[in-house]
């Protein structure tokens, strides 16, 4: 039994390059997931039953089908209908679509938890619907859902490791190459595990801090 983590030192650069690609993919996917999540959450809380059902179906599908299947569907399927997207683009798209389903859940809870009295005050002051969403509903819902959104982001980071299955050399993909170069898979993958744990821990901390900062004026009992 041999265990020699220090021999990985020269490969740190590869790990960093992979980490950078992971970070980029996750950041882009998060932006997409947030935008999509807001739209879908608004559809799910809309008055129109058609909107609710469409949005509900989207969330249902993306929650009950494995991510890797979604990824393969897009990766192998999109070229068939003429959409030539590179592996990285496909990966980000898949992450954003899946992430959107989960963020819409979170934002929907935030919208539903809104004090109805506050909504009424906005309505009777003559504010048009778009302005109510833009200035009242979304700012409040996003403030209260920072922590759960942080969890979704953590999930996104962990899921991004699956992108290595379509030859993207993000963090996990890079690690696979290092493992096959060094013939030390245990050290490599143990280190990889710890790196992910560190990343997700940082994200959770950041989400907590952001939550405290955005909510420093908003107490629970404003009625």
């Amino acid at each position: 039994m041999t265990f020699d983590p220090l021999s990985l030192a020269p490969y740190l650069g590869d790990f960093l390059a992979g980490a950078r690609l992971s970070a980029l993919a996750c950041a882009l996917a998060l932006a997409g997931a947030l935008a999509l999540g807001i739209v879908v959450a608004l559809m799910r809380t809309a008055a129109s039953p058609l909107a609710r059902r469409c949005a509900g179906a989207y969330v249902d599908v993306f929650r009950n089908v494995p991510f890797i299947v979604q990824l393969f569907f897009l990766f192998y399927g999109l070229p068939e209908i003429g959409l030539e997207l590179d592996a990285f683009g496909t990966g980000v798209l898949a992450l954003a679509l899946a992430g959107g389903a989960f963020t819409s859940d979170v934002i929907r809870s935030g919208i539903l938890a809104l004090d109805p009295g506050v909504l009424e005050a906005a309505q009777v002051s003559g504010l048009p619907r778009l302005a109510i969403y833009r200035r009242i509903v979304l700012p409040i819902a996003l403030r209260t859902t920072i922590r759960p959104l942080g969890s979704v982001f953590v999930n996104l980071i962990l899921t991004s490791s699956i992108l290595s299955a379509i030859t993207i050399n993000e963090l996990t993909g890079s690690a696979k190459i290092v493992a096959s170069d060094t013939f030390q898979p245990f050290e490599v993958y143990a280190l990889l595990l710890l790196l992910y744990v560190a990343m997700t821990w940082l994200v959770s901390l950041a989400a907590g801090a952001l939550h405290r900062r955005l909510n420093r004026h908003v107490a629970g009992d404003v009625a």
Partner: protein, 243 residues
């Protein structure tokens, strides 16, 4: 003029408003009195469109509120102050007041801020313009609520039990402000339990009982033994409120 004709409102099997007729002309100060469950708050919530009526019509300055465009125009004529304040928790007192003028009336930011500060000064809160609702007391929040309603320069002010959630000391402050508004000629329609206050500042008293209008009289007549008090339900109610 607010014209309420034959308004009916039901919640399931329960008829909360049973054919109510009412007219409010500019300059009037009208109090709606009645026991809990008599439909008082529901009536106000029908006027500003928070509840849909099941029968009858409500017209505010010529705008029918059962028509979406009419409702929007009617809402601009009316300012509402709520029992539970309903301030926007993520905005400062000043921002609470300037939100509607800047978004709806398209008032320029600088002008809206100045006008808001004048309103806050009138209720003694100019120092607290930058405070968030969580940092204000109940009475202060309600005063901001009043300013917020006034910021749109409404023709009619609707007040729904605006002191019920306040302790006696804060209640007195808010009532003083309302009395001043009434004296300045603001048209007000309010639902209240404060009988003495209603008697002091109203020009007219309306009494609702189980969804029906039992009386609609000038204040003096309402409290006269041969006027409002002649009705047993009203006399019973008033004596209970006197404790």
């Amino acid at each position: 003029m607010i014209e309420i004709d034959g308004v009916i409102k039901r919640y399931g099997a329960n008829t909360v408003l049973d054919g109510v007729d009412l007219r409010i002309a500019p300059g009037e100060v009208v109090s709606i009195l009645g026991a809990s469950g008599s439909g008082k708050s529901t009536l106000i919530r029908c006027i500003n469109g928070l509840e849909r009526t099941d029968g009858g019509t409500i017209v505010v300055d010529g705008n029918r509120i059962d028509d979406p465009k009419g409702l929007q125009r009617a809402r601009r004529c009316c300012g509402t102050v709520f029992q539970s304040f309903n301030l926007y928790p993520h905005l400062t007192a000043l921002q609470n007041i300037t939100l509607a003028p800047t978004e709806v009336l398209k008032t320029p930011r600088r002008q809206a801020d100045d006008e808001a500060r004048v309103l806050l000064a009138a209720v003694g809160l100019e120092e607290r313009a930058g405070a968030y609702p969580a940092q204000l007391s109940g009475g202060q929040r309600q005063r901001v609520g009043i300013c917020r309603a006034l910021a749109m320069k409404p023709r009619y002010l609707l007040l729904d039990e605006v002191t019920s959630a306040l302790d006696p000391e804060m209640t007195a402050d808010v009532l003083a402000i309302l009395a001043r508004l009434a004296a300045d000629g603001t048209t007000m329609l309010f639902v209240t339990h404060e009988i003495d206050f209603a008697r002091q500042i109203s020009s007219r008293i309306v009494f609702l009982d189980q969804g029906r209008l039992l009386a609609d009289l000038p204040t003096g007549e309402f409290f006269a033994p041969d006027g409002g008090l002649a009705q047993p339900r009203i006399a019973q109610f008033l004596s209970k409120m006197k404790k």
